[in-house]
Subunit: 196 residues, 2 copies
């Protein structure tokens, strides 16, 4: 997705060979025009999958998935990372380790908002080791619902997330696939292919 | 806002005289059509204020403010409740006590995303005691920026949030003003006035 590639190139910052900081338009400050386009692109890629619900993880997943759910005309559920006091006790949970934040979070979805017949599209900001997405697939499957696919705004293709998800049989759609963050530069997979 | 009143009446649950649970369409599962309309309504109410930035608090504020920022064509910044490891060290902070969750949170905004000339619209899901909104006004003013107003999706008008904010001179716009949650029922302010 060219507008996204451009935003990553111009406004992203490479902090290390593993970490790309995009809090200028995605993780802290949100470019809502770009994120609306991102959401519409996800909706397009999964439009034939009879999606009944979009699920994401708070907080950074909410903006890029908002217009996906809106365009598909289905509810968006954001999994919570810890239990809220007014929350229902009746929840599906899984555990997710975040390498970036170096912490173990619980991923929690109320049983009210996932049903056996649901066809669920999972969307997250980053796909790296795949832990967050796999944690979300666990809660969806715990509910007896079907994962129709996983959408990631930015994929660190040099980490094993996609492989993990595809081994489980899930369709993975990333809007920007990063081959490398070496030497302080972002190289996209498409560019590598084009240059060969 | 009639569609919002209807959602609160039909899908909200009164848990006590203080607590209205709306995780069916706002706090956990999001009705993205309704939240898009909510955002557009905020944009309309503040359209003459030359807003340069919308600020909200993760996570529940993101969905209702997304289309407000999108419609006003300005960035949306979501304040974080704790410091992320990849976050800038250079931040504005304030402390916010949440009565609902009974916890003290830090509200954090990177200095990169608030500038002296900014005209900032603050949006949150609930206005109750006003702590979250006041915490956000503090970080905006710490940056030397101007608060143009505060938008709340749901106001608990029987608590002191609005008074606190108006005493500070801020314009407050709530899309649903709740007079009372007594006897397990939601009574809106407009209804009270109409019935007199």
């Amino acid at each position: 997705m060219e507008a996204l590639h451009q935003a990553i190139r111009e406004r992203g910052r490479v902090l290390s060979e593993d970490i790309l900081k995009v809090d200028n338009f995605l993780n802290h400050q949100i470019d809502t025009q770009l994120m609306a386009a991102v959401g519409q692109e996800f909706a397009k890629r999964f439009q034939d999958q009879s999606v009944t619900k979009v699920i994401t993880l708070e907080s950074s997943g909410i903006a890029p998935s908002f217009m996906a759910a809106n365009t598909l005309d289905v509810p968006l559920v954001f999994a919570r990372k810890k239990k809220a006091l007014t929350g229902s006790e009746d929840v599906y949970t899984s555990r997710v380790y975040s390498y970036t934040k170096q912490e173990l979070n619980q991923v929690i979805v109320s049983k009210e908002y996932l049903a056996e017949g649901d066809r669920v599209l999972i969307i997250d900001d980053f796909l790296a080791h795949g832990n967050a997405a796999l944690g979300l697939t666990e809660v969806v499957e715990e509910a007896g619902a079907t994962v129709v696919g996983v959408g990631a705004v930015i994929e660190k293709a040099f980490q094993e997330g996609r492989t993990q998800l595809e081994m489980e049989g899930y369709q993975v759609e990333s809007l920007a696939r990063i081959e490398s963050l070496s030497n302080g530069e972002v190289t996209f997979i498409d560019e590598v292919v084009t240059n060969k």
